[in-house]
Amino acid sequence: MTPSRVAFAAILGKDLRSELRTLQSLPAMALFSVTTFVIFRFGLDRTHLSGSLAAGVLWATLLFAAVLGINRLFVAEREEGGFDAIRLAPIDRSVLFTAKVTALLIYLLALELIAVPIFALFFLDSAAALGPLVSVLLLADVGLAATGTLISSMAVNSRARDLLVPLVLLPLVVPLMIAATGATEPLLALGGPGYHRFGTWLMVLGLYDLIFALVGYAVFDFLLED
């Protein structure tokens, strides 16, 4: 058997190299989020948002931008024979899951490096909330990456892939979004960041991450069978 860390590095390196070369996912995700912020700014006719509305705008935008990347996560594996290559190799197939979760996590972090400062520029008075927001973003990204990878691997063999991913993914990430907006809301409150139930929501996010990472790891081998 090839050591899992070697196979993990090979698959992750291949994905990142392909993305850097073709820019098929990240630019679309970033452009979508920026455009959505512009629409919210003029649609709501507000130059300042706070509390639950600000948290909702931020997380709804990031979630739908993430769906664009999730849709494409396994397309090369499906269309260019990557699934067969991995099934023929002497590797633990769960490595593909962990490599794809990591790749998606990197895409989401890169997206947020662009989208969150633009959100702050459009809607926030100060950048004081951005520091503590990082922990919420990280925990929510892990959950979104684990769930998104699992759903994407199931939907990629369907011709209705673009429809199936949001239809299945969005209900599954409702708890994640409730916890993420719950943790974000006090941070973006009027008058500066607050921490009411912040720790509780972070624990909910951590629990969600753990459950979906374990479920994905456990069932992924089965999903790769014919």
Partner: protein
Amino acid sequence: MGTEKPPAAELALRLAGLRRDYGDRTALDGVRLELGAAESLVVVGPNGAGKSTLLRVLATLLRPSGGEVVVLGCSLPGEAWKLRGRIGYLGHEPLLYRDLSGRENLRFHARLHGIRGDAAEARIAELLSAAAMERRADERVAELSAGMRQRLAVCRCVLHEPELLLLDEPDSNLDAEGRELARGLIGPGGGRARVVVTHDPERALPDADRALVLGHGGHSVRECAAADLDLDEARLASAGASR
């Protein structure tokens, strides 16, 4: 080419009553054959006879629906995990990423098969040279012709020095030079078993030890020594007719 069957311990393949269904449709039905560890098998039959399905079952990419399948001493599907890395599979798709170069693709496959560092670079250079692909190896696969991609796919197939080669129309898209170069990499000899699916029995039969003729519906029409299969019969079988 030999015609005597080898003892069971030296068999690369042993199939008894292999069946594979896709839902209600049966693609392979009751296929029986035995192939020695260093023998070549040529598989002929019309379109839809289940030739490619047979290769995918042997490659562990599809689970058999019934019957006994033993590949390199491993019973399928239960011991499929023991076979990974021991099979070289060349199917209809080259299994190459279009946005990576040929060399990057081979490096990727080498790492999946646990070949690393200088050993990987040396093996890749050797294969690219054998396939006359050194000059084009750093171009993206998407920019290469179908024949060039097939040469790279042949390199990918033998990169990890497999014990069994499963080749589905290995000459497709190759010109005369490409066929000759590919023959050096995936041709008979070298002490490994080969299963070659072909619509060109004229070229494949002389290299084979045994032959399997599949008919419509995946029925095994005939399994025999290659020398016993008449070329005209093989041509008719490929065309979907029988004598």
